[in-house]
């Protein structure tokens, strides 16, 4: 209980910090001039989350067997915001997502969801509060979209696993939200990549949780379908007030779709903040080993990376 109290107290503190945050955000460079950042700046770029935390991870150590993946990681996921975890391969971003969603128990540290330590929540209780879509999910053969989405109600269905009226409603609504009404009786195998990912997203939405966690939702999709899925996620965040935590591989996608970016490298958080506060050449060189320019997207005004060359070669 003491640890929980402590974390709760810190939550309050962050709430008090809100005014400072907004000032900070206002003073942050928001335009091409961000590229003028110095190397020393990137160490200090850790701004508080944009809102009070829906989910917070505190001092997380995680390992697979003897292989340590995460080392003392603190993460705040702002309520109602889209938070993107980015980082090079093997930086521990997927592992952090797994720890935050109770798929992996941390060796040390705690994750607090709505003021409760998730290690005390049952798997079922967890599924009512947070929906997760793992990377590259595979559906069993000969399963219709509706059957797939129905699985999202697993934690909520009534006695004897009866699907009740409100479950049917939730399923229909989830299918509608992703725009798959016309395909709801089709087999999942027969869908295109983008449609399939939308079906999986509907499954997570049918859980009707305030938080949605996605592990690289755009893997195996072409650029059009990638944008289709990310735009849908953004739309759901705005229209449904969903809190979204997602792991993304593509920095430009993260910058244009997330409110808040968290950069991991070698099992530690290097920087976190708004896309403009994160995306600058020294950090990209340090974390990803690339020489890059950051420009403002002429249409969205979001930061856009143009990577020129790798600096890791020959070292």
């Amino acid at each position: 209980m003491t640890r929980q109290d402590q974390l709760l107290q810190e939550d309050q503190l962050h709430q008090d910090d809100q005014d400072d945050t907004s000032i900070l955000n206002r003073t942050l460079p928001s335009g091409p001039q961000a590229t003028q950042f110095q190397a020393t700046d990137c160490q200090a770029t850790t701004s508080p989350p944009p809102d009070i935390s829906a989910l917070r991870a505190q001092a997380i150590d995680a390992a697979y067997g003897k292989l340590t993946i995460l080392n003392g990681v603190d993460l705040h996921v702002g309520r109602g915001a889209v938070t993107a975890l980015v980082g090079p391969n093997g930086s521990g971003k997927s592992t952090l997502l797994k720890v935050c969603t109770k798929l992996l128990a941390p060796r040390q540290g705690a994750v607090v969801l709505d003021g409760e330590d998730i290690s005390r929540l049952s798997t079922r209780e967890m599924a009512k509060r947070l929906a997760i879509l793992p990377q590259g999910p595979v559906a069993p053969a000969n399963l219709t979209v509706r059957d797939l989405v129905e699985q999202g109600r697993y934690a909520q269905v009534g006695p004897f696993r009866m699907i009740r009226r409100q479950d049917h409603a939730a399923i229909s609504r989830a299918i509608e939200l992703v725009g798959l009404q016309a395909l709801s009786d089709r087999d999942v195998d027969t869908l295109s990549g983008g449609e399939r990912q939308r079906a999986w997203l509907a499954l997570a939405l049918a859980q009707e949780t305030p938080i949605l966690a996605l592990d690289e939702p755009t893997t195996f999709l072409d650029i059009g379908h990638q944008l289709e899925v990310l735009e849908l996620v953004r739309e759901l965040n705005q229209s449904q007030g969903l809190t979204v935590l997602l792991v993304l591989h593509d920095l430009n996608h993260a910058a244009s779709f997330a409110d808040h970016m968290v950069v991991l490298n070698q099992g530690a958080i290097i920087a976190s903040g708004s896309p403009w506060s994160i995306m600058h050449p020294p950090l990209l060189r340090q974390v990803f080993g690339v020489t890059a320019s950051v420009i403002s997207d002429p249409v969205t005004q979001k930061p856009l990376i143009i990577a020129h060359s790798s600096t890791t070669r020959g070292e």
Partner: protein, 372 residues
């Protein structure tokens, strides 16, 4: 802190939702149609199995023999009774194995998993044979209830062993599981062979039993089998939704609210108990657990709430047909037809032989399909 929920539904959409649940009910009925077809198929084969044999009986004759034996001839009574027991047993065993196969395929997320391939059947067979040969001498009553327990234990042990070895390298790959299953099955087969060397006068009976035979079915065996299945039923009802969610992978199942390890245990125990019940009554009948869920998946889909009943009925129908062939086709006839002298002492071949003849090619077909 309170949980933020998704925005409330607008009241005017309620009627739309009611309409959806109405059409949803129709959809469910529609999806259940193939199940009805399989049920009819099983019933047809069941009636045929009772009617066809050395003496052909019409349905009214069978009915008379069973309901009012005083009006029936002795032939009718004997044939009806024996065939009814045998048909019920075939149906029951097929249902148990079909269900076990559907559960295991979901558990291992592997379309090739079945009680035979994952070491479950071999474990049950080896434990039973070893216990009969090396175990203490017991009265028939003691044997009748201890044998199922022993083979159930053997099935569980061997399935756990197969799974553990397959998991040593981390993820359980489908092909890996099959290789390990073959390996464990091979070792257990060797143990069975050794046990058979010491079997003495029981050898002939054990060999027939090993390939799976319905020839020695009695009402007492049937009652015992029924009791075993009945005990497993609550566990089976728990296993179906769990296996259903495990099909989606560990992370997905966990994210949807099902703890993975207890769910796995329940599904595995249910499948092992069902297989053991079948094995101890009729021996090592193979491939039913592979073929039945596969064929039915094409018609009813992968959702286990439909696939389990489907695979059960399909498995039952399959064993009924195979036994019908086994009962009425003599090896000598086959020899005559193929023009080779097949002068065996056996009047008929055990049903397991025909199922293996059917199942082997089917397995190859599935392997080919999986590769593409």
């Amino acid at each position: 802190m309170s949980i933020t929920t998704m925005p409330e539904r607008m009241p005017e959409t309620l009627t739309a939702i009611e309409m959806i649940s109405k059409s949803e009910r129709w959809r469910r009925w529609w999806l259940a149609m193939p199940l009805l077809l399989v049920l009819c198929l099983a019933l047809v084969w069941f009636s045929t199995a009772i009617g066809v044999g050395s003496v052909t009986l019409t349905p009214p004759q069978v009915w008379r023999a069973l309901v009012a034996p005083e009006n029936a001839t002795r032939h009718e009574i004997v044939a009806s009774n024996a065939r009814l027991a045998r048909a019920l047993m075939a149906l029951g065993v097929g249902m148990a194995l079909g269900t076990a196969g559907a559960l295991l395929q979901a558990l291992y997320r592997n379309p090739l998993a079945d009680p035979g391939i994952t070491g479950v059947t071999q474990g049950a067979v080896t434990a039973a044979v070893a216990w009969i040969v090396f175990g203490p001498v017991l009265t028939p009553t003691q044997v009748s209830w201890m044998l199922p327990a022993v083979s159930a234990l053997g099935a569980l042990l061997s399935a756990t062993l197969t799974w553990s070895i397959a998991r040593l390298g981390g993820r359980v790959e489908p092909v890996r599981l099959i290789l390990i299953g073959v390996l464990v099955g091979g070792v257990l087969g060797a143990v069975t062979s050794v046990a058979l060397l010491y079997a003495g006068e029981d050898t002939q009976a054990l060999i027939t039993w090993l390939s799976g035979s319905l020839a020695s079915v009695t009402w007492q065996k049937l009652r015992l089998f029924g009791a075993g299945v009945l005990i497993t039923l609550p566990l089976l009802l728990m296993a179906i939704p769990r296996a259903n969610i495990l099909q989606f992978g560990d992370d997905m199942a966990s994210g949807l609210g099902q703890s993975v390890t207890p769910a796995r245990a329940i599904v595995l125990v249910a499948a092992c108990l069902l297989t053991a019940a079948a094995v101890c009554t009729v021996g090592g009948i193979g491939f039913v657990g592979l073929v039945a869920p596969h064929l039915l998946r094409w018609f009813v889909g992968s959702d286990l709430r439909r696939l389990v009943p489907g695979a059960a009925l399909g498995g039952g129908a399959l064993v009924l047909v195979a036994d019908l062939v086994a009962r009425n086709l003599r090896p000598a006839d086959i020899g005559e037809w193929l023009n080779i002298p097949l002068n065996t002492n056996a009047i008929t071949l055990p049903v397991g032989v025909y199922l293996a003849l059917l199942g082997g090619p089917f397995f190859l077909f599935l392997l080919r399909r999986m590769r593409s």
